[in-house]
Each structure stands twice: as C-alpha cells, then as structure tokens.
Point group: C2
C-alpha cells in the first residue's frame, strides 16, 4: 500500500494532503473516496487512513495506528567523502534510506575530485532529499532521512557527534582486522547513535584517518574484499541491521 509522509498533525482525525501528495494519490494512483493509504504524520507513527474527499482538497481520515515501526534501533549517520559522479551520491542516498539510515552526509574529502559550488548546493541537496523522501515511502520507513553537505571532514565531524564513531579503513581490512565493527555493534544500545565515515574513490588519506583516530573515531574493516565507495556504506547499513535486528533475536 502507498505510504506518504505528511508534515502535519491530524485534526479531528483528518489530514488535508499537500498539493503534490494529493496529485500523486488522485491523478497518478487514481484514488477515490474510500481508497486506503498509509500516512506518517509528524509524530513518525504509521496509520492506516482512507480518502474521504478529493475536492476541493484531498482529505484522508485516520482509521487506526498500524503499530509498526521499521526504524533501526540505533540512529545511523553516514558521512561519505563526495564521490566523483552524480549517480553515486544518488545510489548511496536511495539504498541507505531503504537500509535504515537516519542521516546521509557528503563532505569534500582530500581525494574528492568533485566539488559542489556554493550556489549549487541547495539544488543538489534538494534533489538528493527528494530521493531520500521517496525511498523512505517505498521502504515503509517511519522517518525520512536527512541529507546534508559539509565542505570538509573537520566540519562534518564537528557537526555530527554520535555515541559511537567509526571509519571504514581499507588498511584495517588489509591487516586482517575483523573484530572492530563487531565489538562496536556488541556495545551499542537501542536509542544510541553511530556515525560512520567513508572515503571517496581514491580512499581517505592517512592524514584524514590520523585526524579521526586522534578524535576517537574507531577504524573498522569491512571484510577482505575491496569495496567501492558507494558499496561500503551499504555494507555497513546491512551489517548493522543484521547484527541489531536479526542476529540479536536468534533463539
């Protein structure tokens, strides 16, 4: 069933849909009075609702809470060195949203070849935010992840504190380091936060990694294979979900 995020509180159980959502629901999906939809108002809870009017404005009535929460038990922020193509940030944002990320940050790493000119940042972020919003609806999330941009690593680290911070570091993998990520995921508690840093295509510089380890960020390996810049964050998201949502409930 189609799910929509609505930046509003229901009034008397009724929600009036903004124009873009109303257009999608009534024109693209041809909804009529009586059509059921799922809505997530600003309380981040999912409700079953029903269209009660399509004119003059499209209005839905809350039927009941769905009682489902598809959010990861921990808040994950991905900090990605800006990749060189336009497609890679889009792929990272879409897939990380499906996999449960709470926030996706791009920063200009020392080896980033791309650069977002100041006058284009708002437009680029807006485009990525739309991808996140749409993927959050499709994957039936309870939150829309936030997309953010910082000019450099130091700014990104300062702006994104977290209970646990890790950096995916290829050299950790080469040295056969296999336990650091699992140790972090064994310690983290529901409600806590984790931030994870990833390099762009050429990888992070030794200077950037030193800067992070000095700031208490833990280098972690993601297995013995070399992952592309857009694959590593998705590996981490799946590993967090597996460790905290699937393996932890094994009887």
């Amino acid at each position: 069933m189609q799910r929509y995020f609505l930046d509003a509180h229901p009034v008397d159980g009724l929600l009036t849909l903004p124009q873009d959502v109303a257009h999608h629901l009534t024109t693209v999906l041809r909804a009529q009075a009586g059509t059921k939809v799922e809505v997530v108002p600003s309380d981040h809870r999912a409700y079953l609702a029903e269209v009660v009017a399509t004119t003059p404005q499209t209005t839905v009535k809350i039927i009941e809470p769905l009682g489902t929460d598809s959010e990861l038990p921990v808040a994950v922020t991905l900090l990605c060195g800006l990749p060189k193509t336009k497609e890679k940030p889009e792929l990272i944002v879409q897939k990380a949203t499906e996999l449960g990320a709470r926030k996706v940050v791009f920063f200009e790493s020392e080896r980033s070849i791309s650069h977002w000119a100041a006058n284009k940042r708002a437009r680029k972020l807006g485009r990525l935010q739309k991808i996140a919003d749409s993927a959050a609806e499709q994957s039936h999330r309870n939150c829309q992840p936030q997309v953010e941009y910082y000019a450099d690593l130091a700014t990104a680290l300062a702006a994104e504190p977290a209970d646990f911070r890790v950096v995916a570091w290829e050299e950790s993998a080469k040295q056969g380091e296999t336990a650091a990520l699992a140790q972090v995921l064994a310690k983290i508690k529901p409600g806590q936060s984790i931030a994870a840093v990833f390099g762009p295509e050429g990888g992070l510089t030794t200077g950037e990694v030193d800067q992070m380890t000095a700031a208490g960020v833990t280098p972690v390996g993601l297995g013995p294979r070399i992952l592309r810049t857009e694959t590593a964050p998705l590996y981490l998201m799946a590993a967090i979900s597996y460790a905290l949502e699937l393996a932890s409930s094994r009887k």
Copy 2:
C-alpha cells in the same frame, strides 16, 4: 595495484597475457618492463608479478604468492527473479561480486515483466559476465563469479543445489520473523554452500514460495524495511560477510 585473472598456468614462472589484458596493461595503464601487477592464474591464488616483456607478446614473471584469499568462507549463489530494467541485473552482478558472491543466477519469475528471448541470452549473459569479471578484479577477488540464466524457478532450483537454501520473503519480515537467517548462518560451516532466492519487483507469488518451502527452502526475513529487488541480495551478501568474516572473529 591492478589485478588480472588469467585462465592459464605459469610455465617456468612466466605467463603470457592474452591480447585484451595485454592491451589494458600496456596501453591503458602504460605498463613497461618492471611494472608490478597482481595476477590470479587458474589455481585461484593471487601472485605478485612483474612485466618482463611487452613485445612480441606481453609476458609477466611470477615474483611471489601474495598469500591473500578474499573469498567468503562459504560459496554463495544468488537466484534473482529477473528485474524489469537492464540496469538492475547489472547493479546486482557488480555489487554481489564486490560482496563475494560465487554465482549470480537470473530466472524468469511469475511476476517478472522482462523476458530474455532465447537468441539474446548469450549476448546478455556475456555482458553481465564481463561486469562480474571486471568487478572481481577491482575488488581483488580470487574467483570470478559465474553469471547464469534459467527460464523458470523450477529449473533454477534443480540446477543449483546447495547445503542451505533460503528465500527472502517479505511476509516473513511482516510477521516479525527475525531469527531464520541468523539460525542458518550459525549452522553453515566453511566450505559449505548457500543459495538464496529473491523475487522481482512485484515479489514472489505465494505459489512460488509454497513450491520452495515444499522443496525445503527456508523463508527468511531481511529486517522490517521493504527492500527493492536489487537491494535485498546485497543486504544478504553483507549479512553473510558480517556474520562469517567479522562477527565470528570477535574476541
């Protein structure tokens, strides 16, 4: 360092490169006598080698075995219901290769909208195999995964036996089933094999899932979020790597 797979055994420590590899090494990468490369001959072991001649044929000399093995401890076969776009099989093959899959199979599922005409299969498979081969080099695998195509699920299941077989089933996730995958990954031993089935965009039909459970395939949930057809196999690959390569070595 560049890695090449070579379908040959060294003779007196020397390997003559096939024309496409020689072209890439000498023309694209401008290698000369003395340039170091990594090669994986038909023994699937990785060696450090050095260019000793570029004419009349490009020849490399084995220096020493690298002693690295980046293969997953278990052989993973992904069986994917054919997605409707050309891009999704390409993304699945590339990312699954990076993440360590041994074989990627596409089959026409009941809800597959695409169909590979018999006279186009070889060309389509050839293209996907090239993507796998190239991704295997980039991610420093010791094996090139094999890409295969079957007309339907029954043929795919019959052709791909495995020690453990699972199917990603959205209804399992909806019912809050969270332990099945972790139970399988706790049981599987190094050297064993696992095959995992995924639906196309519209999902598997109940009939297909019944057919599989009757054949002993275990339905597994991949967490509470709805994953797209191309994301679910990548989640599974990362979960297998995390469980068997990272979490198992936690001290």
